[in-house]
């Protein structure tokens, strides 16, 4: 029996494939490459902050490097990371479908991603912009650095995201296996579904906004130019209308991964399936109503600020529901501490930490003190990196046997997981203290009193890189020497484990009929 990997092996069979698993795998390679590139820029930034004043680069270079780090990590890695890779690979399998609803569009979304990435990186090679990943006007529409290719590149990437989202929504609605009701679909699918709604409805607003900045910069149209009657704060409104929900594009799929990993390694059904599924949709919905909390200090009435602050805290309620439900799932479970679960524990710790500081910065009076300081940098790295990156690694470890058919050395995976935790924590925890002490974000230089904390932070970034190197090494090793995984190495009940690893071209040998729900661990296991 041939798997999706070896039923056809020509280069053309990969480049022209409409198999969602191959497309997911190509996305995996592409996003992993972007992660390493964005990570390399991060290492350079931390190195620069080893000492006050110039260490390895000048101020203009620093501005570009932090912009490129942000642009690559946000637009090229985090947004597509889990949905386009694991979502693509797993969503149809988990629904018992043979493919996504529109396979050719799915392939197109990969090439649109490549085109967007090429144009964005072209801008990087042509010396790079210095606007930050947020492209705030009026600076972005007047800077002499070549910002246009990056704006156009991100605009194009947006269409890849939208197409992926349309595909996932249509697939979930129309291609579920027979007898599979909405309350039978795996929680990861719920998370990806909620994410897709945001992708489809928020991304076009961003795309249009970036296009307008392009016109301002390139042709002096002046949508946001005060000299022509434009309003710079209006840009922030439309930008964050997308970019705040974008945070949930990053975190919701992560939450899906957490639900799957916890149920599998605790051998239990979720404490409340409905609570986890509904809170995903709740976050997606509320996420559209919180953008104003990025602008408390940009001039906003007290009433508006209060409303946006309160709405932001709703997200914390939904998130807390999830955390309690996950913890409740672990309680009295038969816990097997494997590396994916270790990453999930890291996630829980960092997410609660980042989430609570999020409630703190959503409080208007506190935000005035912390706005534009390292406190905010630390907060969103705890959520976004601590959230997306740790679960991306959890997902990579958890589904690696399914995707490649090989097992990896668990010991080394644990080493990497532990290094990730300590590396991450020592990189970003000092940044809370730096920000609270008054260190502004995006500054090239700093006062000498901050050096000790910067030193710890830079040291942490090296530990984090070590974790990456270990991961690359053991996963590479497993491709060649790893044991055959078999269909279900973790003994999971979720549907993707009921087909062979790696799965056949159309996911299942026969049209599957799932006779149990995906987390029925109290029943005897057996197909």
């Amino acid at each position: 029996m041939k798997s999706y990997l070896d039923h056809r092996t020509t280069v053309g069979s990969w480049l022209g494939t409409t198999d969602h698993k191959r497309i997911g795998l190509m996305f995996l390679v592409a996003t992993a490459a972007m992660l390493l590139l964005g990570g390399a820029f991060a290492i350079l930034l931390r190195l620069e902050h080893l000492t006050p004043g110039p260490t390895i680069m000048g101020a203009p270079a620093y501005n570009r490097v932090f912009t490129l780090h942000g642009v690559i990590m946000v637009w090229l890695f985090m947004i597509p990371s889990i949905p386009a890779t694991f979502g693509n690979f797993l969503l149809p399998v988990m629904l018992g479908a043979r493919d996504v609803a529109f396979p050719r569009l799915n392939l197109a979304s990969f090439y649109i991603y490549l085109l967007g990435a090429a144009i964005t990186l072209g801008g990087v090679v042509a010396s790079g912009a210095d606007t930050g990943w947020t492209f705030y006007v009026p600076y972005s529409s007047t800077t002499f650095t070549p910002v246009i290719p990056i704006l156009i590149g991100v605009f194009i990437l947006g269409w890849s995201t939208i197409i992926t989202g349309i595909n996932f929504i249509a697939t979930t609605h129309t291609l579920r296996a027979r007898n599979m009701g909405w309350m039978d679909i795996p929680l990861f699918v719920w998370a990806i579904y909620a994410t897709s709604v945001i992708q489809v409805l928020a991304t076009p607003v961003l795309g249009m906004t970036l296009l307008l900045v392009t016109m301002d910069h390139g042709f002096g149209w002046g949508f946001f130019d005060p000299a022509k009657g434009g309003d710079v704060v209006l840009f922030q409104h439309v930008f964050w209308f997308y970019s705040h929900p974008a945070v949930y594009i990053m975190i919701l799929p992560a939450m899906g991964v957490v639900s799957e990993v916890i149920c599998t390694f605790a051998r239990k059904d979720p404490y409340s399936y409905v609570a986890i599924a509904a809170s995903s949709v709740g976050i997606a919905f509320t996420g559209f109503l919180t953008w104003g909390h990025h602008m408390f200090t940009a001039g906003m009435s007290t009433l508006d600020a209060g409303i946006f602050g309160a709405l932001s805290m709703f997200v914390a309620i939904f998130s807390a529901i999830k955390v309690f439900t996950w913890t409740g799932t672990l309680y009295r479970g038969q816990i097997q501490l494997r590396s994916p679960l270790a990453y999930v524990f890291t996630f829980l710790f960092l997410f609660v930490f980042g989430g609570m500081t999020g409630v703190a910065v959503a409080t208007t009076s506190l935000d005035v003190h912390w706005h534009d300081t390292y406190f905010v940098v630390a907060h969103f790295h705890f959520i976004m990196v601590g959230g997306t990156l740790t679960t991306y690694l959890a997902a990579l470890n958890y589904w690696w046997p399914k995707i490649t058919g090989r097992l990896y050395p668990e010991k080394w995976a644990m080493v990497a997981a532990v290094l990730t935790f300590f590396g991450f924590f020592s990189t970003f925890f000092p940044q809370f203290l730096l920000g609270n002490g008054g260190m502004p974000r995006r500054y090239y230089d700093y006062a000498e009193q901050f050096q000790a904390l910067h030193l710890i932070s830079t040291g942490g970034s090296w530990i984090l890189s070590a974790a990456f190197l270990v991961t690359i090494a053991y996963l590479g090793w497993s491709l060649v020497y790893g044991e055959k995984a078999g269909p279900n190495p973790w003994g999971s009940r979720s549907y993707e484990w009921f087909t062979s690893s790696p799965p056949p071209p159309h996911n299942f040998e026969e049209t599957p009929e799932f006779r149990h729900r995906p987390y029925d661990y109290h029943e005897r296991i057996g197909t």
């Binding site: 607003v205 949508f223 022509k228 009657g229």
Partner: protein, 214 residues
Amino acid sequence: MYEPALEEHFDDFARQRHAARFGMWIFLASELLLFAALFVLYFGYRAHYPQVFSEGVGHNARAIGTLNTCILLLGSIAVALAVNELRRSRTRSAVLLLAATTLAAIAFLILKGSEYAAHLQEGIRPGGQGHFFLEHQEPGWPIFFTLYFAMTGLHAIHVAVGGVLLGGMTWWVARRRVGAAGAYRVEMGALYWHLVDLIWVFLWAMFYLMGGHG
């Protein structure tokens, strides 16, 4: 007669049709949000500069705008009927109706082009460039016309895409490449056209009706 085949990842034709329609609706929702960003800008700036926006509307040709609204709406009726006819295998009338919609797109673009030409003549260009703005120096004038060009321009691009799409479908149906069972594919084009139409109805109100001198 060629009919779309059942793709191998679908169990039956009903599901395939449902998926296509459903996907199209989601895409249209996405398109709507693309315009929404511009609508937010328009109303944000209108609140800033109510007087200028109201006067600005007077510089647009209300008659042509209204004529264009009629053209688009008639196109919408035609394409809706075309889908209906095709479902009943009345290919000839379907072809005629689709051709009518394609013509509507072309007529719209010609009229819109004539309006743009008149504006350029008047010295109105996007970004507050042109001699018109030497006489109209209050803040808000450049924004009004930049938004006018951007929003109607983006809409015109959509009309052009719709025209090409429906022109292609006319050809398709005329060559008997698609019949009753494939009518849902023509329906995709119709849905797209209705969206283009719907957005124009709002643009018509915003740039031709809300203000001016009458």
